[in-house]
């Protein structure tokens, strides 16, 4: 069931990126990239190998559909590599077996912000300068605005489609 849900999430995010993101973007300034949410929503309890393979498959799909080729996978694997670390930094009092007991779908609003925003920023910090192949003030402005905008859409998708209903805010 969890696997089906993850596959649905991937499909939903790719569809969003294909159909809605172009019309929601402001050219050369803001580009929504909530597809990062797939890597964020992968369960912590799954084995690193499975997570790695799924991340690469999703990244390859993104690369095939959206140039520049290879960059989505490259940036996504950074998110996958650092997401547990970020989660632990944001939640210092986690129990020893937190990976088995914590679900990405059961995060509260504040928890989701502390977890998703830094990782979205990390993804965009790789993605935007490399895609533009420069580090100008325009790119940095676009990076900051797009991170905020992407997170906004991640939050909306998380709340509307992915979050468990019984979780407190």
């Amino acid at each position: 069931m969890e696997a089906l849900r993850i596959a649905f999430t991937g499909f939903l995010l790719i569809a969003f990126q294909m159909l809605l993101a172009p019309s929601l973007s402001i050219e050369n300034l803001v580009y929504p990239a909530p597809y990062v949410l797939f890597w964020l929503m992968l369960p912590f309890s799954w084995s690193p190998q499975v997570i790695g393979v799924l991340s690469v498959i999703y990244g390859v799909f993104m690369d095939i559909l959206f140039p520049p080729y290879g960059l989505h996978t490259f940036c996504g694997l950074w998110v996958v590599a650092l997401r547990k670390l970020i989660f632990r930094v944001a939640h210092p009092n986690l129990p020893p077996e937190w990976e088995l007991t914590t679900s990405t779908r059961s995060l509260g609003m504040g928890e989701f912000f502390l977890y998703a925003f830094p990782l979205t920023l990390l993804h965009h910090m790789w993605y935007f300068p490399l895609a533009a192949w420069e580090l100008s003030s325009t790119v940095l402005l676009g990076l900051g605005l797009s991170t905020t905008y992407s997170f906004l859409w991640e939050w909306i998708i998380f709340v509307v489609a992915l979050r468990q209903r019984h979780v407190r805010n």
């Binding site: 690193p48 190998q49 790695g52 393979v53 991340s55 690469v56 990244g59 690369d63 140039p67 520049p68 080729y69 290879g70 960059l71 989505h72 996978t73 490259f74 694997l77 996958v80 590599a81 490399l130 192949w133």
Partner: protein, 265 residues
């Protein structure tokens, strides 16, 4: 180590992650124009650096060899000089490469050193130790003491990349000075020092050993520079032109000093 040990290493999350990152970044660098160009420029700079160091290390040996060559050349020139009745001028440019002096008189000949050259590519090139600071820019012709050798394709401040005549995309307007007809030379065979001269009409009677010069309508070279000699003539009756094999005067495998032709400003 047995198979399961290797599998355990290869399936380790960190190894998988690094493999995925390297593959993804390789695709990014290979299929995106700007990074691809930057990587190419970086490797050419590294290549140039390595060859300059190698050139510097080997310079004493090459200098000794050059002394021998110069001694022989001096002896040869002295013997030639003794046979001439009057010698009035020193020639400061590669006279051997020039068939007709009238068109090249206003050009400046800038000596350059070949830092690196490719030998086995379909797009052969050489790196020259002259760049934008010396007044070099893309599109200038390059000759060696024997004849035309290529053209400057890219420049940085300190070095230039010269596309050789033996580059699949380099074509030059050429003429057979005996007849005054104009054709195009290009490199089609994988054999170095051999070109094809095309578009010479069938009514022209081309003989082996005829000279091939740069044509007056060339946008890169002045007219009258030596390119090579006709080796064989094949008549292509389906196209109405000769297909002429030309042996170049310049020897790509023995390239050393070259001259960049700078036109009058």
């Amino acid at each position: 180590m047995n198979l399961s040990g290797w599998l355990r290493i290869f399936l380790h999350p960190i190894v998988l992650w690094i493999a995925g990152q390297i593959t993804a970044f390789y695709f990014f660098l290979s299929f995106t124009p700007e990074p691809k160009g930057a990587v190419k420029r970086f490797f050419i700079s590294v290549q140039k650096g390595i060859h300059e160091v190698a050139f510097w290390i080997s310079s004493p040996w090459r200098a000794l060899k050059r002394v021998d060559e110069l001694e022989q050349l001096t002896a040869q020139l002295q013997s030639q000089l003794s046979s001439l009745s009057d010698t009035t001028a020193y020639i400061p440019f590669p006279a051997g490469a020039i068939g007709d002096f009238s068109a090249v008189a206003k050009y400046k000949f800038l000596p350059a050193k070949v830092v690196y050259q490719s030998l086995l590519l379909r797009e052969n090139y050489a790196i020259l130790n002259r760049g934008g600071r010396d007044g070099i820019y893309p599109g200038l012709g390059v000759i060696d003491p024997q004849g035309v050798i290529g053209l400057v394709a890219e420049t940085t401040a300190t070095y230039s990349i010269m596309y050789a005549l033996f580059h699949k995309n380099v074509h030059l307007a050429a003429t057979l000075p005996r007849h005054g007809v104009i054709g195009v030379v290009g490199w089609k065979t994988p054999t170095l020092n051999s070109l094809f001269l095309e578009y010479i009409p069938l009514y022209v009677r081309v003989e082996p050993d005829e000279e091939v010069w740069t044509a007056p309508n060339s946008l890169i070279f002045p007219a009258g520079l030596r390119i090579g000699r006709v080796r064989a003539v094949r008549s292509d009756f389906t196209r109405g032109f000769h297909a002429i094999q030309v042996d170049t005067y310049a020897d790509w495998s023995r390239l050393s000093g070259v001259f960049i032709l700078i036109p009058p400003s």
